[in-house]
């Protein structure tokens, strides 16, 4: 077990290195730079600013410099919010994104899995159609539609919840963004859970259990849920890494100071240090999330343990 974990860790480091390198060179290939603004800075001044940040050096030189700094734990300075350390930006934005992502995870797990299980148990009944219809609404109405609608109704119309803004200490301000962000994932999860459950329900051991007279609910929750969750779990890892690393759509609809806005703005301006740091953070989350979900899959599916 320990060996497997160590192996995985080593692979993770390798992934991060590849990610670092590929991202760095991709960003450098963008057809614009951080000091090309709408209101043009005179060329001689722009050249000086670029030299100040070492952007006039060959890309490979810049790469090794950045790599060296990263190895010393230095992520550099933002080029868009000039002078701000990238680490400070992320330290300010990530807790918000994490909090929002966790709230959205609660929504998506709390809604998605029960809904999918229910639909599978009552297959092709009105309950099934109702539950799956609900899920489909979550998929057909993207966040940029559902978010403003929720904000209009509960924020502006009924004045029950804040229409915009994020107060770390006020759960009322989390509700609308978390629902908006979690809804699509909930919908995917419920669809995948239903499909996985149906596959398990038609397997032999279930028939045997049924023949032995084991009650339906027991079969469902004791025997089937494990196997039925396998596809959902495979989806959950990266989905959750995505949820907690910020979503620009949600952040822009509800004015939330998360990572998503920084990331998009950084891409828009070619702010390589911020892009790189965000990607490295996201990469780490992906690796961790996929590792965890793989562990969960092994737990769900004892046959895999023999490996």
């Amino acid at each position: 077990m320990l060996r497997a974990i160590l192996q995985r860790l080593l692979q993770g480091v390798l992934v991060l290195f590849v990610l670092f390198t590929v991202t760095f060179f991709l960003v450098k290939k963008l057809p614009y730079g951080p000091f090309q603004q709408e209101k043009a800075i005179p060329d001689h001044i722009r050249a000086k600013v670029e030299a100040y940040y070492g952007l006039d050096q060959p890309t490979s030189v810049q790469y090794f410099k950045r790599l060296g700094n990263y190895l010393h734990g230095d992520t550099g300075l933002s080029l868009r919010l000039e002078g701000q350390p990238v680490s400070a930006i992320i330290a300010q934005a990530f807790p918000t994104s994490l909090q929002l992502g966790l709230a959205a995870m609660v929504v998506s797990l709390g809604v998605g899995i029960p809904l999918g299980t229910l639909a599978a148990a009552k297959k092709n009944s009105m309950i099934d159609f109702g539950a799956m219809g609900l899920a489909m609404i979550g998929i057909c109405l993207p966040a940029f539609v559902i978010g403003p609608i929720l904000a209009e109704i509960f924020g502006r119309g009924l004045q029950l919840l804040p229409a915009i803004g994020w107060e770390p200490a006020d759960p009322r301000s989390w509700i609308l963004p978390a629902i908006t962000l979690g809804l699509a994932t909930a919908a995917y999860l419920s669809r995948l859970t239903r499909a996985g459950m149906l596959d398990t329900l038609s397997q032999d051991f279930v028939r045997t259990a049924k023949a032995k007279g084991v009650p339906g609910t027991t079969i469902l929750l004791r025997h089937c849920l494990r196997g039925g969750l396998i596809p959902a779990v495979a989806y959950v890892g990266p989905a959750f890494a995505g949820l907690i690393s910020g979503s620009v759509v949600i952040e822009s609809i509800f004015q939330i100071p998360g990572l998503g806005q920084h990331f998009i703005k950084a891409i828009e301006t070619g702010d390589e240090p911020v892009i790189l740091a965000s990607v490295m953070l996201f990469g780490t989350l992906i690796i961790l999330a996929n590792f965890l979900t793989d562990l969960v899959s092994v737990w769900l599916n004892p046959r895999l343990r023999t490996r």
């Binding site: 603004q37 100040y52 002078g83 004045q159 029950l160 915009i164 004015q255 100071p257």
Partner: protein, 532 residues
Amino acid sequence: MPRRFLFLAAAALALVSCSRETQVERANREGILILGNSGEPKSLDPQLVTGVIESKIINSLMEGLVADDPENDDGLPPGAAASWEHNDDLTEWTFHLRPEGRWSDGVPLTASDYVFSFHRMLHPDLIAPYVEMLYFIENAEAFNKGEISDFSKVGVWADDDLTLRFKLREPVPFLPSLTRHYTWFAVPRHVILQHGKMTDRFTDWSEPPNMVGNGPFRLKSWKFHDSIEVEKNPHYWGADQVALNGIRFLPIENPYTEARAFFSGQLHSSYTLPPDLIDSVRKKSPKYLRQEPYVGTVFVRLNTTRKGLDDPRVRRALGLAIDRAALTEYVLEGYFPATSLTPKMGQYEPDPVLRFDPEEARRLLAEAGYPDGKGFPRFSVLISRPAARASTEALQAMWREHLNIIVDIQNKDWGSYISAQQSLDFDIASAGWIGDYLDPTTFLNLWTQGNGNNNTGWSNPEFENLLDQAAHESDAAQRLEILRKAESVVMAEQPILPVAYYSRNYLLRPEVKGWHPLLLDNHPFKTLRLDP
């Protein structure tokens, strides 16, 4: 029973929501103004930024030699300087600072602070992006470009603690107005040197809690993409007249989000209002709607190095086929049809040369060798922000209808959009310009050869001559006359097609008092009051 329960629950909810005061109500009680500010500022160091977003916040933290007038764009109320005078040909100016002037940490503000500020901004090592705003000062450009290294040769001197003297390279009748721009503000030497060398870029001096200014407010907190808060500055010379206890700037970029925030009681004023919401606001809550002229122009940039667009007749034909009245009535709602390049400002009003005349447009196009659009190259119009999409689609349809030519619309991400224009790698582009100060040169200078914002490949010696003449003309009326001539040269050749004049469409709560329409939109915060 369940029904009664539901009723009770609804009543309880209603009670909860009634007893909870909105952000604005609370802010009214606390004397805090909450403003939408459309985006995250890059920095608050006035010498290192270029944008409008930054200027709003900086204007609350700092004050120029001359202050902004709450009611009148041309008004020149004294700011950090109590009075000023100039010589006959407007090249030498003396400003007398207020003796009671203080930085927000209580340190006296002196003329040598100003000299330090200009020295810092002009120093080649600081690499100030907007330094050209100071090139009006004699030898400033030479010092900034490293041609001279002795700063005492640059035309700004402190004769004593309260006397600041400028020598300019040319007559600048609008100098007092210019000193209201943040590039002309003083920065605190004693604080900057505490946090680094004079020419260090982006040190901590301009961040909370370090930042010190000479304005009516001082910086309290800054959370990225969340808010910037400023509070009343007790050391400000006019502190007893400042009514607000503080201002909270919210960097809400999405205008629809901003409108929602406003209508749910979270903002006193929005930065903008999307054109397609104007109609419904006008019907449902007209008391909040503000529509005011603004010194900005929406235009279409033409790449005059492209075959076809290099012919002025073609460019004029494209311009004549634009039905500006229809555009501003149905698409760019609230904007005004452009009649020339520069919107009316102060004493300056250019000849209204632009009109809608499809007949003449077709004639010109035929004359240029494309009768009925035959053989006309298929160009692309470059756009970026979704807001430009509808108006460009309308242009596309007008050109198709009136000239029988087809243009494509090429949407690009913001970075590529900017970069394509600056490298002349485009045919036609949708663009806009907001004036920095109240003088037509803020629009006309763009079209000189080598100006970084020209991006049309167009230049004209006669036009440059006229601008040069105007720069050396010390009679104000005569100068504007020359500039009007210069503008007519641009309009005869039309390297750009002006479409509409911006208007400031925004939402404002009636309890904000002392807020008047202003062309430059620089509302002095010190005279605002909240009176719910």
